[in-house]
């Protein structure tokens, strides 16, 4: 029993109590509070696996770049003169300073501010100052910016890996790719991420954000003030009753989605791609990226994506009205995270119940338009969470 293992290190499967045949599924709050589990997550998910970084529309022009961090490691994505997007560790091969000191821009070359070594936007070292100090055998071509072991794009979404690995991006995305297609196929043109991003931090574990983005059960309660505003304006209100046809889906590999249907009959998703990306369509389009900073500290960056023929100005306002630290929705989710992290300090009652909907879960899509999935339930059920934590435990137990 987990409670008796006082001095031994926690194993991932110790934290999951998976007894679906008894309609029981529980998760131990150590997943949010144990440093050694967080170390394992950092290695397995963020340093060894595929992680979302940017959208191709953020690198529209030749020589555009963005400098970001993946699990604390600085990287640069840059579109070279040949139009190809490449990823590098943002680290001078000389003495380790950041080569790219601005978050975004356009540059034919990067010049390190320490000793002025310069690199082409495609990564090659093209010049060192004081070349007489290096012998004739010094080979510039051996000191290009170190490429990221993996940079792959799926329909404009750029993922990277910080360590070499066998798994192709398509294999990682698995069934979730078809659900991303549903979002992207709504427009004949590629989506475009617009300038400006809203970001915030919270003093809690990163998985709380992943869980919450696909949780509709809380919407009528936590976002009551937002629904009160809608009701006063005669707009559509979300309550438990009108979620009866909405769905929560486990897509395998830790991915999942929740699907509502708009007044016009169009499916709308919050699609989660393990471990750090959520693509949302309602109440407004958002690409949301989760950055774990510490066990109990997380940064979230939100971007707006536009589809052609949509009223961008209204959708921008709809985004700002709900999402982000000054929105009328997100801050109350933050309050939940802080409250839960407080609750997880309790050692005498550590288990979370994640069994909602086990009695009505199915394995085949209820609608013809839905691509294959692993499990599906009502949107208020914990279907996604169970898939998430099963994958979490499997990956950590394998150490990858």
């Amino acid at each position: 029993m987990l409670e008796n293992k006082i001095s031994t290190a926690l194993q991932p499967f110790d934290c999951i109590d998976d007894r679906a045949e008894e309609e029981l599924f529980r998760v131990h709050s150590a997943v949010y509070t144990d440093e050694s589990l967080f170390d394992q997550e950092k290695r397995a998910f963020f340093q060894q696996g595929w992680v979302y970084v940017a959208h191709e529309s953020e690198l529209e022009n030749i020589n555009d770049y963005v400098a970001r961090k993946v699990m604390g490691q600085p990287i640069v994505l840059s579109r070279g003169e040949d139009g190809v997007i490449r990823g590098f560790f943002n680290r001078c091969r000389h003495r380790g300073a950041l080569v790219c000191r601005e978050e975004r821009g356009n540059a034919r070359s990067f010049v390190c501010f320490y000793h002025s070594w310069s690199y082409r936007s495609s990564g090659e070292l093209i010049g060192v100052t004081g070349a007489d100090g290096f012998s004739d055998t010094f080979d510039l071509s051996q000191l290009s910016l170190t490429p990221l072991p993996g940079v792959e794009s799926y329909r404009g979404f750029i993922f990277v890996r910080l360590s070499p690995g066998e798994q192709a991006l398509a294999e990682h995305l698995g069934l979730a790719a078809r659900y991303l297609d549903l979002i992207l196929d709504k427009s004949a043109d590629a989506i475009k991420v617009l300038p400006g991003s809203s970001q915030y931090e919270y003093q809690g574990n990163w998985k709380l954000q992943a869980e919450n983005a696909l949780d509709y059960y809380h919407v009528p309660f936590i976002h009551k003030s937002f629904m009160d505003i809608r009701r006063a304006r005669g707009e559509r209100v979300i309550g438990l009753k009108n979620l009866s046809q909405a769905l929560a889906v486990d897509l395998g590999n830790g991915h999942g989605t929740v699907i509502t249907v708009s007044a016009e009959g169009v499916p709308q998703q919050h699609l989660y791609l393990f471990p750090n990306l959520i693509v949302l369509e309602e109440p407004a389009p958002q690409i949301r990226v989760i950055h774990p900073l510490e066990l109990r500290r997380t940064r979230v960056t939100g971007y707006f994506f536009a589809r052609r023929d949509e009223d961008q100005a209204s959708l921008l306002r709809a985004y700002e009205k709900f999402y982000g630290p000054t929105g009328f929705g997100t801050p109350d989710d933050m309050e939940v995270f802080h409250s839960c992290m407080d609750g997880y300090a309790v050692t005498g009652s550590p288990w979370n119940d994640v069994s909602r909907g086990l009695h009505r879960e199915e394995t085949t899509p209820p609608h013809a338009w839905m691509p294959p999935l692993v499990s599906v339930g009502n949107i208020t059920d914990d279907t996604f969470l169970r898939g998430f934590y099963r994958h979490w435990a499997e990956r950590l137990a394998k150490g990858e």
Binding site: E102, P195, R317, K321
Partner: protein, 173 residues
């Protein structure tokens, strides 16, 4: 509760009053009302076509400029300001309580000549909650309008130097 008949009230201007003094008084009064949670009165300081805007940083140097094409933290028109007040006055804005306290300090007021009357200022806001403090600061630009002898806020633009938001939230400045 904000009623549908809430009208912009602003500050009454006595004949011959010094407009820059009155603008300064209004700015300090606005900060005071927000610190005290007197949201209906705060709302009444804005004209019926007022906007409240917190642009995002596009990069380390550039702020968002075109709200029709770029994402800000918030861009509220008058009716959305009213929505904010409804939310603040409800018991369901959970992030606001219990016990959230703020101090808004406004300084470095600089008055721009010409019409409309504008005041640039600097501000610091200390937010205290759950035994934790957070400090925000930046610049602010108020645009004023005089309607029927009353001074009103026609537009407010707030720039944050730090958009970290450690607790995922910031009350309106």
């Amino acid at each position: 509760m904000v009623t549908s008949s809430s009208t912009a009230i602003g500050h009454a201007l006595a004949p011959g009053s010094d407009l820059t003094n009155e603008a300064q008084r209004l700015i300090y009064h606005e900060a005071d009302l927000l610190d005290q949670g007197r949201y209906d009165e705060w709302f009444s300081l804005f004209s019926n076509t007022a906007t409240y805007w917190i642009p995002s940083w596009k990069s380390e140097f550039e702020l968002v400029e075109d709200v029709t094409k770029e994402l800000s933290y918030i861009y509220l028109t008058h009716d959305m300001l009213r929505d904010y007040v409804v939310r603040m006055n409800s018991s369901s804005a959970f992030v606001m309580g219990p016990g959230l306290r703020t101090t808004r300090l406004i300084g470095n007021l600089q008055f721009e000549d010409g019409q409309p009357m504008c005041v640039n200022s600097r501000w610091v806001m200390h937010v205290y909650r759950r035994h934790q403090s957070e400090l925000f600061s930046g610049q602010c630009k108020h645009e004023f309008v005089v309607q029927e002898g009353r001074l009103l806020i026609a537009a407010k633009r707030v720039v944050l130097i730090n958009d970290q938001f450690e607790f995922g939230h910031m009350p309106l400045v």
